[in-house]
Symmetry: C2
Subunit: 164 residues, 2 copies
DNA sequence: ACAAAATAGTGGCATATGCCAGTAAATGGA
DNA sequence: TCCATTTACTGGCATATGCCACTATTTTGT
């Protein structure tokens, strides 16, 4: 099979999803002994880093739908790794924090993650890996989304204008 | 919030998943009028390109679990875009093909996808976009997965060896 | 102060994706 | 030929993720 239909060549969306599946499988295997998935590890790391953020804040950083985040938080709360406590100053909001159990689990995951990180740098190349993360972060930037959307808008208003 | 916990800095897995969500939302919006998601568009494009591949072959190219692929094929078959016919030469296998309806739908999606592709190249930069796809394709290559796994193995056998 | 609008979450439904167990068929020896 | 193994798929269960509708609060405009 050719790498991809000529008509849909170089589709960044296709490529990024496929790579996400590949990396997900590789990282899941590495942290397998923790009993958690790499997606859950990421979520706990972000929660830990944020300290006591609201679901909205976490969703924004993760570029994730708020309700989707709520769904993914559920098993982690159910299993005692995370806690969701009402914010006394805004009774609509809840603050997401790590429990003691969650903190310990995150440390365990971190040890395994280090292996994965070293393996990635060694097999993909350090500068290449850093450049890749940088490019991906640029795509995840809300400013990129804004620019993309307004460009789509413009392209739709004046269809394929002949150059020259 | 800092870009990410210092301890989990430059996690390629986290970055690629986040970018996948972002691009997914952007591309889904662009092809929204088709009634399909960009993941489904990708799947149909791959099926079209493959001609009459088995689920196993499609799953391999997509770096996707076979049963996961089976699940995602279901709604497209149910809605008449794809067809799954038994292979007479190997009665375990089934050949996945586009229906006439699916072919027409894919053409419609392609027109929208072209807009998204032009917008991506314009906002992210052409050389940067091509380089990104190339890097992602390298990660999706089975050879990369093999190298990664064997490196993990080695790192586990001889933990952080002091250099020098 | 009050009503309209914005914000924060939750629950339901649908697709996306993975693992495991089970079925069916083909393949590879002895 | 016959059985063990491998291959192709299917179904069940769980998480991942998004959209929409709904509830509860807070904020805003007058």
């Amino acid at each position: 099979m050719r790498p991809q239909s000529a008509s849909f060549d170089n589709c960044c969306n296709t490529a990024v999803r496929r790579a996400a599946r590949q990396l997900g499988q590789l990282y899941d295997d590495v942290i397998e002994s923790s009993g958690l998935r790499s997606t859950q590890g990421t979520l706990m790391a972000v929660v830990s880093n944020a300290g006591a953020a609201t679901a909205s804040e976490l969703a924004e950083w993760l570029v994730m739908d708020l309700s989707a985040l709520g769904h993914t938080l559920k098993p982690l709360i159910r299993d005692g790794f995370l806690r969701s406590t009402p914010d006394p100053r805004d009774r609509r909001a809840r603050r997401i924090t790590l429990t003691a159990k969650g903190t310990k689990k995150l440390e365990q995951i971190h040890a395994d993650w280090l292996i994965a990180q070293r393996a990635l740098l060694a097999t993909f190349g350090e500068p290449e890996a850093f450049a890749l993360v940088k490019a991906l972060d640029r795509i995840s930037d809300p400013a990129f989304a804004d620019k993309f959307r307004s460009t789509v808008q413009k392209l739709r208003e004046q269809p394929q204008r002949k150059s020259g």
